[in-house]
Amino acid sequence: MVAAAVLIDIEPTGIYKVHEIRTKTFSSDKAPDLISVVKMIETAAETIKNKDAVIVIEQGDMFNINEQYLKTLFFRDVKFQESIGERRAIEIAHHVSLSTRRLLIKEWEKIERKIRKNEKNQKK
């Protein structure tokens, strides 16, 4: 799994400036539960230099819990997306995490193929 943290200055209807983009990878045998999603988000947000920025999360990513409950789960200030600008910011983070994941899978497949080839050669 890949979590992307994007530090963005936003306006009500758009993005003013993208300051920083960081990604963090995680792996697990099971599907993530709420607590592990919280941990992933907090770890990814830690990689961003600005520690005072509010974390904006999509409600669907948090199993559609309500905002009051959400706030109790995090050490930092968090909120769900509201304005068009916030939605656009989340869209960027989603694009980043998805493309990073695809890249990693591609790379991993390349490595796997190489390993298999080497194994075959060794057998020969």
Partner: protein, 450 residues
């Protein structure tokens, strides 16, 4: 149109609303107020309102005890309809109707979406809007069609559990009607799309009035275009979009009044009215009208819903028109603006009713619209020149036409229209002596002589 003064024709209804135990009180109150306004907008007389704080019950939506209480009140009050805020499943409607029937009441059980559809039904006057309402109703009925038939034929048919095999011709019939309406609407959409493209080609800039229902969009529209369209303190007064020409300085703007947004509008309904909302999505500029006299929490909720709906498809610029601000003190204005600054883009205070701030709004519209450019054009004074001139008249603003050896005039249009003209009209008439003499941007005193 619903005649609210005719009491004998109006239905008596009871409203039932269920709140989640974790929900906020203020939000619940505004939900209830909006629910009452909706019932009033449909022309109903509200006999009673029942509230319950409980997680949803799978059989009755509200608790069984409350459902029994509701049935007794419905019988005592002799209501025609009981309206639930939540969406009800077919089996919930069946169970509730059964409880009511046992108590002696024949009230019809419906939910908020049926209520909205009823309002739309009474207001729909054009063929297209009638089709849209019909489509929304059928789409809403479809998933429960099988169950409804099963339940209604429960006594007649044999089989395990008494349900027997279900009648599916009703469902097929619904599906057939849905696809027929969709086809008809598709044709209407193509017409609308070509009309929009035609308007753009002719150099009009498209501005839409959007916003939560009852924000004062129609009042502002009337004021801007100097018309007397229907305005009422009621939800969904406007259902059919209206487009009128608005001339601000040299800009030819087409302004469209649209249907208002509402919270928790299900997707099938948004889809049914998609072609109406397309008018908003494809405009150059959106005027998001907000009733600024309401409490901060209410404004926040309405802005959130508006942003959510606009986010789905629109990429246009937004001006947030803070209407009814004459009744808000300067201090309160600043407080509200500070609280909601992350949701308010390009704010402007106006009062459509008192006609305050309209000139500033017009200036703001112009500043946000794509830039217009004026060029001075010289055409030969012959038949070619005359036909080229008529094309200029169609695509932009033609001013100060001087007829002499040549036809000389000022031509103003958006940048992209000029570029397009240079590729078409100018090339066609190039050999006949057509020439751009000078060009300048509006508001820029520098003239570029060519």
């Amino acid at each position: 149109m619903v005649d609210n003064n005719n009491f004998s024709d109006r239905k008596k209804v009871g409203l039932v609303i269920r709140f989640d135990p974790t929900s906020e009180n203020e939000k619940n109150e505004s939900k209830l107020d909006e629910f009452k306004d909706l019932a009033k907008a449909a022309g109903y007389i509200i006999s009673f309102t029942i509230e319950q704080t409980k997680y949803p019950d799978s059989r009755y939506n509200i608790g069984y005890g409350k459902a029994k209480e509701l049935a007794e009140i419905a019988f005592y009050e002799q209501v025609d309809e009981i309206i639930f805020y939540d969406s009800l499943s077919t089996s919930q409607v069946y169970n509730l109707s059964k409880v009511c029937f046992e108590a002696g009441s024949n009230a019809r059980i419906i939910d908020r979406f049926h209520l909205i559809l009823d309002i739309f039904d009474t207001r729909a006057t054009t063929h297209r809007s009638k089709l849209q309402v019909e489509l929304a109703r059928l789409t809403y009925e479809l998933p429960g069609a099988k169950m409804r038939i099963s339940l209604s034929k429960k006594e007649e048919k044999a089989g395990f559990g008494g349900l027997g095999d279900y009648e599916d011709s009703y469902e097929y019939d619904l599906k057939r009607r849905i696809s027929r309406i969709k086809n008809e609407l598709k044709k209407a959409d193509i017409e609308e799309e070509s009309r929009r493209a035609y308007r753009r080609k002719k150099g009009f800039q498209l501005v839409s009035l959007a916003g939560y229902t009852n924000a004062g969009k129609s009042t502002l529209f009337n004021l801007l275009v100097d018309e007397e369209n229907e305005v009422e303190d009621m939800l969904f007064t406007t259902l059919i979009p209206k487009t009128r020409l608005l001339k601000i300085d040299n800009h030819k703007v087409l302004i469209t009044d649209t249907v208002g947004f509402i919270e928790d509008l299900p997707h099938f309904m948004v889809d049914a009215f998609k072609s109406t909302l397309d008018g908003i999505y494809y405009s150059d500029l959106i005027l998001l009208v907000v009733d600024f006299s309401e409490p901060v929490e209410t404004i926040y909720n309405k802005l959130k819903v508006s942003h959510e709906i606009l986010w789905e498809q629109s990429a246009s610029d937004i001006i947030t028109v803070l209407n009814k601000s004459d009744s808000v003190s300067v201090r309160e204005r600043q407080y509200k603006l500070k609280k909601l600054d992350y949701l308010i883009a390009n704010p402007i205070f106006i009062s459509a009713k008192e006609e305050i701030g309209i000139e500033d709004l017009k200036k703001m519209i112009i500043s946000q619209l794509p830039e217009q450019r004026t060029i001075v054009v010289r055409l030969p004074n012959n038949q070619y020149g005359a036909s080229a001139l008529s094309e200029f008249y169609e695509t932009g603003v033609v001013e100060e036409v001087i007829y002499g050896d040549f036809i000389t005039f000022d031509f103003t249009a958006p940048e992209y229209i000029l570029e397009k003209l240079k590729g078409t009209v100018f090339k066609t008439y190039e050999n006949s002596g057509m020439k751009i003499m000078s060009e300048y941007h509006i508001g820029n005193s520098k003239l570029n002589n060519l």
